[in-house]
Symmetry: C2
Subunit: 212 residues, 2 copies
DNA sequence: GATGCATCGTGAATTCTGGCACAAGACTGT
DNA sequence: ACAGTCTTGTGCCAGAATTCACGATGCATC
């Protein structure tokens, strides 16, 4: 039975909400409670989860810890995934220093840049390596995921190198679409896309006659 | 006629791709070319655009510049939107220094933090202000959009203050869902959500017996 | 100007998605 | 024990979203 992509996309949201409940000491929840917190219908949550098994109990709801474990298993984030960061600019450094990966199944293992002035610097405990070494270092470390934080003009080339090095998933922060072979996962993060999606629903700004 | 959200969500992607074509000097494109570049069917692109008018010409395709202008108008990013950043940690600073907003319809106008050690620092040409002044400063500047880059534990409170200050759209980088009044737009950026969405489709990692 | 090819916009057909509503089960309190 | 209240998992179906396929049109070439 094939799981719809759109369902898969919601699972990390559920996991995040459940982990939050767990962290505040709540042991049981319901599809209604989760739905209210997430702005999703309870029926949707139940149906999504039902693709993978029966995790709840009638009349009671879901055991938070048990459901967290199940979602971690389903999403395969039980053991840590190693990640490489390409690009040691402001964003790459922020990612390298971010401590929100560790407890959610991911671990930064390497960071690369092509600028000689950045190579050798240390960020988040990792020495910036020469981007030309991606093809050697990634297979050595068995890294299969990468975050791309380079200028748009370089993103496709970087992606090509990553794929050649065996990377199977790319999280692309560069504001450009990239093409990869079938079987390689790509996800995009572009704040402007989200901002523009919001402004569609708002009244257009009136240019300030003073500041321009 | 109501435009489906899912269509609105694709428009910024189209705009980004078209702007790229424009930047490399291409003056004409087609739904097929765009579709190939974006991994979207050409019919989908044509139908999405048809919600807003007839922008192409049979046999020829679309004038890139014209379509860019139209999408900017539709998304209301013709004139610049002012944005506030809340949180001057690594991520907030990276956003403040990012120069990719300016030419896509947005302009950072203020940055806030609650940590006295950060207040007064300058990032991206903006002095970090006291987060307690959000309620005063935002209305003064007429800011209606904000990016939240604070720890998850603080995100809901910050969002409440932003909404009270008249903010109509929040781009939330904190890994937690927030509740806002109806009419306020919220978008989320959480790299881990994207990573987990990819790992679902990959083989689970085998823990390295040496490094753990 | 006629032919061949390319492309758009769109109605129809198909596939997908979400929500309703209910049977079944679980818990609480008397 | 039993009534009352919750909650899950799911069959069903309406509506949404996507794709198909085609008429209409534009351009290049001969």
């Amino acid at each position: 039975m094939e799981i719809p992509d759109i369902v898969v996309g919601r699972l990390p949201i559920y996991l995040r909400a459940l982990s939050h409940l767990e962290s505040i000491g709540q042991t049981v929840t319901s599809s209604h409670e989760m739905g209210n917190a997430l702005g999703i219908s309870s029926a949707q949550i139940r149906k999504d989860l039902s693709h993978f098994g029966e995790f709840g109990k009638q009349g009671t709801g879901y055991q938070v810890k048990y459901l967290v474990d199940q979602l971690r298993r389903i999403l395969k984030v039980g053991a840590d995934w190693d990640i490489a960061i390409v690009g040691a600019g402001d964003l790459g450094r922020a990612l390298a220093n971010y401590n929100g990966f560790a407890d959610r199944g991911f671990r930064i293992r390497a960071i690369f840049d092509s600028d000689p002035r950045r190579i050798g610097q240390t960020h988040g405990g990792h020495v910036v390596q020469d981007a030309r070494d991606i093809g050697r270092v990634l297979p050595e470390l068995g890294i299969r995921l990468a975050m791309v934080a380079v200028p748009a003009a370089a993103a496709q080339l970087v992606a090509d190198h990553l794929v050649a090095a065996g990377v199977q998933g790319i999280l692309n922060y560069a504001p450009i679409n990239i093409l990869v072979p079938e079987g390689v996962q790509v996800q995009y993060i572009d704040p402007v896309v989200h901002l523009q999606r919001m402004t569609f629903y708002l009244e257009a700004p009136t240019p300030n006659p003073v500041t321009g």
